[in-house]
Symmetry: C2
Subunit: 316 residues, 2 copies
């Protein structure tokens, strides 16, 4: 059964998660190291392989699946561009193969998350699934007819870069009014701080020791749990943006399932409830009712298991 | 070869086109009748069959494909809702079968247009194609891996109801700031008239005999041909909206081809050139360069041939 043991590597902006899993998606061993982008990509990836090789059952691994933020040429395993990592045209697959001697698959982390969501959250039952990842960036992936849809140049699923306010804030991607400009973690944190300055909250003030520079989205979640009005209003705002994105996805793709994952989903229904209300008012009724919208229950391991399952995922 | 002779019926808001075609997409005979929605749907559809049965080669037809504006349950051949026709839950397939005794397929006219664009404009060569129809309404259809993608409840491809200005004008669909509110023929005509009132144009004034109530989108096209500045500015505006829609489609679906069809495409590059510029500034570079954006060369028969080809089109 050696051929069913896979190494998944989830490369994020701040840390790299690694997990060796079996065909039941059970994690046999796991490791985390910081993402050191001060090193050259090759040196960094060599370190990743060295750390992975220390994991239990690494000797049984035949294949490696990698998720990485940015624009990935899946066919050739090349990271064409990553704003997050500051890298351009890095042959991730070949470098990892050089040091591991194993077969390597590399894809955008939104795609690997959607593979993870498909297998973990829907047990492979969804037919047409859209995964939306809410982290520093906003990304996603599309499963069509149980297969990963990559599009003509492997770039499909950029859910964070759908324009919803065409003449509002500029986005790093060059566009204006992208979803990411509102829901990306840094943007939402900044919006929250400005909002809190205008709508004072004793609960939030206490949580950050009266120092708003210490405010994070975790603070927001804690305040909402305490039913803080200001925090709930911020979630209503974020939920509205998310709901517009959902409605666009539903009207365009009519998926049976939308899975939300990433840091912001810790807030669960605080953001999902207002978003679902917006869907009912903005999307076409039948596809809106047909679509099940959930937060992933596997957010902490979706990326790394999805990366591993990439090695087995059929493509359309 | 009788089994390759198909009747296509393209039901529009004002007229019904019918064509009998062979497997080379050649039209053997064709007819047009007005869409009489004063009649009951059954009476109207009975008339359609009667008129079709007068067409040459009708006796050889085994299958009928129908495109109709609205939300269609493809599996059961039911028009669930059509704002354009004012109909709700009409069993189109069963009614047409009752009077024709032939096998009938019914789908949304955006889907049938995308089937037509796939076969006529790309000769079946596109892998992933998005068709956008610009008429009274704005619709569309999605071809993925050469097959028609309908989604979980057969509702996919509602390109006109993607939000791009989330807090602007309300749309008939219940949403706010949909593409259709700007590019639907009536909306764009209204916008143009308001714009012309503010930015006088002698050319347009002459074309409408100084009576702006006579202004249509054909007037706009004629004025643009004469290089009228005001007309070209209106196309720049429409092109910007269209470009934002293209960019959203490209970032989400990364298609190899976008085909534009419907009345507004008569204006060709007047609207397409500014739209393509917007794509380059708003969409991700690689998928933007990968995507070929064209106006259909078959707009007058795309709907009716697409409807006929629906009978042969594989679904994903």
């Amino acid at each position: 059964m050696n051929d069913n043991v896979i190494l998944g590597i989830d490369i994020g902006g701040t840390r790299v998660k690694m997990a060796i899993i079996n065909s039941n998606f059970e994690i046999l061993s796991m490791g985390i190291i910081p993402t050191n982008i001060k090193d050259s990509p090759e040196k960094f990836l060599k370190t990743v392989v060295e750390k992975a090789s220390e994991l239990k059952n690494y000797d049984k691994v035949c294949e490696i699946g990698v998720g990485i933020p940015g624009d990935v040429d899946f066919k050739n395993g090349i990271l064409r561009f990553s704003g997050n990592l500051g890298w351009k045209n890095i042959p991730i697959r070949d470098i990892l193969h050089k040091y591991s001697k194993k077969k390597v698959y590399v894809d955008n982390d939104g795609n690997t998350a959607s593979v993870g969501a498909f297998w973990l959250d829907t047990k492979g039952k969804a037919n047409n699934l859209v995964c939306i990842t809410l982290g520093t960036g906003v990304g996603g992936g599309i499963i069509i007819h149980k297969k990963l849809y990559r599009g003509a140049s492997y770039s499909a699923g950029e859910m964070g870069h759908i324009t919803i306010k065409h003449d509002d804030k500029p986005c790093n991607c060059g566009n204006i009014g992208c979803v990411e400009v509102y829901l990306g973690a840094n943007h939402l944190t900044q919006y929250s701080i400005e909002y809190i300055k205008k709508h004072k909250s004793k609960i939030i003030s206490d949580l950050v020791g009266k120092d708003l520079s210490k405010f994070t989205l975790e603070t927001l979640n804690k305040a909402a749990i305490k039913k803080d009005k200001t925090a709930l209003e911020i979630y209503d705002y974020a939920g509205e943006i998310l709901g517009i994105l959902f409605a666009n996805v539903i009207n365009m793709l009519n998926p049976d399932t939308i899975v939300l994952c990433g840091g912001l989903t810790l807030s669960g229904n605080f953001i999902l409830s207002p978003a679902k209300k917006i869907v009912l008012s903005r999307a076409f009724k039948i596809p809106a009712k047909t679509c099940k919208i959930i937060c992933s229950k596997w957010s902490d391991r979706l990326g790394v298991i999805g990366a591993a399952m990439l090695t087995k995922q059929e493509t359309i």
